[in-house]
């Protein structure tokens, strides 16, 4: 009993250490964003704000059409996260629970395509987008995000789908279910934890995507948030307070999404009681 308590205490100690290491840079960022304006790095560095002052946040929100870029990002990212999740779930199901000739070969191709960072193919991608008239459109950007991330997403979800015993599906088929009902009413509900994880990661990834958004969105009013932050950096070369304020605003939606969906990670998830 004593040993158990000791292990638990060490566990918490470890967690607190991890948290401190994760949080300190943000504390520093937060307290710097509260300073009036710091064109040089303040000395001594401040971990805790000496005054509460949101001027920089107001300045950041109003400068460079930050608010509009924020809304644009929300549109693009919601659209592409939905698209990516639907298509990835479908193909992960196809590659894990269905049998067809050449399946493993095709999946090998998916794995292979994962291994080349898409940024290296930027030239041909540009010409394709141009010939399909997908430049400067959110739909085009969504298709591109989906295309370049689908291999690794399929791989990720397939790993989870493979965990379910075949007996579950067989039972459903005997009861007259089709593949589609198995997919929608059995596999998807059982994979909630994986889907929540996957959704959060996809949203976060797209939220910070920078290079493609910069290259493929030409109209200034259509641009997304990471570009706005980069613009801040260019304009106010070393005004760290303003840059950090803008950055912290950009973190908020991800945090909301993360805190909302993380509870599904705890619920469900185990196959306890589904099969004996």
């Amino acid at each position: 009993m004593k040993q158990k308590k000791l292990t638990e205490a060490f566990g918490y100690l470890g967690l607190v250490l991890f948290s401190i290491v994760a949080v300190i840079p943000f504390l520093y960022m937060f307290s710097t964003s509260m300073l009036e304006s710091s064109f040089v790095i303040p000395y001594p560095p401040k971990l805790f704000p000496t005054r509460i002052n949101f001027d920089n946040y107001i300045l950041a929100w109003n400068g460079n059409h930050f608010g509009r870029y924020f809304a644009n990002s929300l549109i693009v990212v919601t659209l592409s996260t939905t698209f990516i999740m639907i298509i990835s779930c479908l193909s992960a199901y196809g590659f894990s629970r269905l049998k067809f000739p050449g399946r493993d070969l095709l999946f090998g191709l998916f794995l292979f395509s994962m291994m080349i960072p898409s940024v290296t193919n930027i030239t041909p991608i540009f010409t394709i987008m141009k010939s399909l008239k997908l430049i400067d459109s959110y739909f085009g950007l969504t298709l591109l995000y989906t295309g370049i991330s689908i291999a690794s997403n399929t791989y990720f979800l397939r790993n989870f789908f493979l965990l379910f015993p075949h007996e579950l599906e067989e039972a459903m088929t005997i009861d007259g279910g089709t593949k589609w009902t198995c997919f929608v009413h059995l596999l998807l509900p059982l994979s909630k934890p994986a889907l929540a994880t996957f959704g959060i990661l996809t949203f976060a990834n797209n939220w910070e995507e920078f290079l493609y958004a910069l290259i493929f969105i030409k109209t200034e009013s259509k641009r997304t948030l990471p570009i706005a932050i980069k613009l801040f950096e260019g304009q106010f070369v070393s005004n760290w307070s303003l840059i950090f304020a803008a950055s912290l605003i950009a973190v908020v939606p991800i945090l909301i999404i993360y805190i909302t969906f993380q509870k599904y990670l705890i619920k469900g998830g185990s196959l306890d009681g589904t099969i004996k």
């Binding site: 292990t7 638990e8 470890g14 967690l15 991890f18 948290s19 290491v21 994760a22 943000f26 520093y28 040089v40 790095i41 000395y43 479908l90 196809g94 590659f95 269905l98 067809f100 794995l111 395509s113 291994m115 960072p117 940024v119 290296t120 193919n121 930027i122 030239t123 041909p124 991608i125 010409t127 394709i128 591109l144 295309g147 689908i150 690794s152 399929t154 990720f156 790993n159 989870f160 965990l163 994986a194 994880t197 976060a204 939220w207 910070e208 920078f210 990471p226 950096e233 950090f244 950055s247 973190v251 991800i254 945090l255 805190i259 993380q262 990670l265 705890i266 998830g269 185990s270 306890d272």
Partner: protein, 317 residues
Amino acid sequence: MRRVSFGFSLCITRKEKKMKILKKSKGLDQWVQALPYILPSLILISLFVIYPLLKNIKISFFNYDILQNKTLDFIGFKNYKTLFNSNEFFISLRNSIIYTFFTVLGQLFFGLLLANLINNARKNQTFFKVVTYLPVVTSWVVISLLFRNIFSAGKSGLVNYFLLSIHLIPNPISWLQNVGTANFVLCLFGIWKGVGWTMLIYFAALQGISKTLYEAAVIDGASSVQRFYKITLPLVKNTTLYLLTVLTIGSFGAYIHVMMITKGGPMGQTRELMNMVYDTAFISWNFSYASAQAVIMGLIIFLLSFVQRKITREMEN
């Protein structure tokens, strides 16, 4: 007698033919059933990954005009020869290997440790998960700027200030001005930014492990360390394999951290492979040479992942 045997063999060939047709139509049926699920991803992957990949290989053997999007004259292996005779390639390769090795191992180790700690904690799971995930959700650009600031030379950099105040170092360190310390900072960045992500994936996997397994082990008198080695580790093997592949590929393809933290300095000594490709394409505007570099880079990553999979397969047997 002859006729009978003839009839018999005919009968067999007919049967075989029928079987073959049946088999074929069965395969076709399976395809028809699977197609709605895999068709959208097949189309998108061919369009945005496979075709650009092939086109890229082609461009690397030609002089290329980006404005007209036209391959001009065939130049054979000229780009590849230039690449293998250049110093910058081997420096970038070295840096990529250092970065990948340390960040992948660090992320796997700390991620699994953290996921376990959180999974075993009875209270405040949510709090710890949100806090340790903060670095992941913040964009690369922002975190890189932050690291550049924290590790700045002089005594006002946060890290130097801290180390000086506990008298661990006599003078401020110029972290980003020396190749060794600069690479150290880059690796630290990779681990710090990525641990939350591996934690999340591992945590999801741990949730999938049936509690009854642990309960049974406790009844049998297994210690927590034994439970970790005998139950947790084998059951998250698939997840580890997935993470290993994805993290390796991700680390090799990373470029923003170098671009923003060290800017490749000092003297281009901390550039990684992707930075080399990026600079060649978007600073020197030499797309043909950049394509050759990208092809070699892709080959290296492919070989690496292949060897990884081979080794883990061998270990299974």
